[in-house]
């Protein structure tokens, strides 16, 4: 019932209730996005935790003119990209050869409880190169426009559209391959 502008307004005034509400309202969207972007629940939990933590500390300096959900999703996407870069670097230097997976093994402090469908799709989408996966997910799941994604990634709209197209082609081939199996 409380709309986001009022929530932000209250949050900036120091309202604990507003922070709780924002957290409850968006935690799943953020965790879900992080999970399908990274296909790793541990990393997803870490970045969403960090996004919320820095948001909680930002009340006085937060200048949010747009949509709160988009803002938080963008923060998650930015951090996911950084985590991905870090993993790539680690793999390049041979520090981390392990596959990232949405694991079935339960950790005692786990935060995300994934459905089978989420696990399955995280695995499928993980077969796309990160750049393509990110564009496909941000456009189709987070509802972001290509223009917004281009700004977020600091690339041209045409590049975003290209990645999206290639991403869909690859996804189609993965899914059709699954069906044929």
């Amino acid at each position: 019932m409380l709309e986001d502008h009022v929530l932000i307004w209250k949050f900036k005034g120091g309202s604990r209730e507003a922070l709780c509400r924002i957290y409850q309202k968006y935690k799943k969207d953020l965790l879900r996005l992080a999970t399908i972007l990274l296909n790793d629940t541990g990393d997803a939990e870490d970045i969403v935790h960090d996004v919320f933590l820095s948001f909680a500390q930002s009340a006085e300096k937060l200048k949010l003119h747009g949509n709160l959900k988009s803002y938080l999703l963008t923060c998650v996407a930015n951090r996911a990209r950084n985590v991905n870069r870090m993993h790539q670097h680690r793999r390049t230097v041979g520090l981390d050869d392990a596959e990232q997976v949405v694991s079935d093994a339960k950790r005692p402090d786990e935060w995300i409880v994934c459905s089978e469908e989420l696990k399955r799709w995280s695995d499928i989408l993980a077969r796309l190169p990160f750049e393509q996966r990110e564009v496909v997910i941000l456009h189709l799941r987070a509802g972001m426009k290509f223009r917004q994604i281009a700004k977020l990634q600091d690339i041209s709209v045409n590049t975003v559209k290209g990645r999206y197209r290639y991403g869909l082609v690859k996804l189609r081939s993965i899914l059709n391959g699954e069906v044929e199996k």
């Binding site: 502008h5 604990r16 409880v113 069906v179």
Partner: protein, 295 residues
């Protein structure tokens, strides 16, 4: 074989259900609240002002109606431009800032003698305004009680009584819109904060610290003829502006009226959030599906 369009639809509509572990959830939230607390300076500019309850006198039936006018009048009582200050605030800059703000959100708290809707100290009103949108939410405690919304471009007015789970959504007539623009928009439009009541006489109040923020104030005692619908005996409206940011921080209005001076009313506007981009999409109230339309 799936087509590209099918894939798009499929991914878009996937039901990727998930849940969170309640214990971890609680731990994370506790950490967030702790971080929030630590990060908020004790002397925050937007912390709640500590102002005592206004002493009320006898019940008066007119006050409820008067309150509406006072709320509408709370903003824009001052002639900013040309108000000199040698100590800090450049009032022309305040005027410029307020005029340039695309939208504003703020809180109003008020009390009146005999006002049946008296909600002090737990009740308050949150207002969201820009040039064409106006939304007012009445809260009791932290529970939303009523909402009134006008969209002059979308020509829509919505009224929601959350306590009774009913609502009304109607189209605004051109006449209504015109009237609102002429009468009310001065108050719903940030520019109106300046342009209304430009001719009131006022004096400076000097500086004082309000919740840790150094402010400079001006006061008018000129009620004019549009402050209330009852005879006014005494009127005082004060505007406090941050010296640092040149944005309004606090507005206070006190009215004593009635033939015997028994009507007392106090309104305060605070927690201003300036430079907010408000769109109809964001501001329009969401009506829960179980609410019934008012016949």
């Amino acid at each position: 074989m799936r087509s590209a369009e099918n894939i798009e639809k499929l991914v878009k509509n996937l039901d990727l259900d998930m849940d969170t572990n309640a214990q971890t959830d609680k731990a994370v939230l506790t950490e967030l609240l702790d971080a929030q607390k630590k990060s908020m300076k004790q002397d925050s500019a937007i912390a709640l002002p500590n102002i005592g309850r206004f002493i009320m006198k006898n019940p008066m039936t007119k006050v409820a109606a008067a309150a509406v006018i006072i709320t509408a009048t709370i903003l824009g009582l001052f002639e900013f431009i040309g108000t000199g200050s040698s100590s800090g605030v450049v009032w022309a800059e305040v005027a410029k800032n307020v005029e340039a703000s695309p939208g504003v959100i703020f809180r109003i708290r008020k009390t009146g003698s005999g006002d049946p809707n008296d909600q002090w100290p737990n009740g308050y009103t949150v207002m969201q305004r820009n040039a064409t949108l106006s939304r007012t939410d009445w809260y009791r405690g932290d529970q939303i009680h009523r909402t009134v919304y006008f969209d002059l471009v979308g020509k829509t007015k919505i009224w929601v009584a959350h306590d009774a789970s009913v609502y009304s959504k109607e189209a605004m007539s051109d006449e209504e819109i015109q009237k609102m623009r002429a009468d009310g928009l001065g108050w719903t439009n940030p520019q109106g904060l300046i342009n209304r009541g430009l001719t009131r006489k006022h004096h400076t109040l000097g500086q004082k610290t309000i919740d840790g923020v150094l402010c400079e104030g001006i006061e008018t005692n000129d009620a004019g003829d549009d402050v209330s619908n009852f005879p006014v005996k005494s009127f005082s409206a004060r505007l406090w502006v941050s010296v640092k940011t040149a944005y309004p921080v606090l507005l206070e209005i006190e009215v004593i009226g009635g033939d015997d001076g028994s009507i007392r009313h106090m309104s305060m506007g605070d927690q201003f959030q300036w430079n907010v981009d408000l769109s109809a999409e964001d501001v329009e109230p969401e009506i829960p599906t179980d609410y019934k339309p008012l016949e």
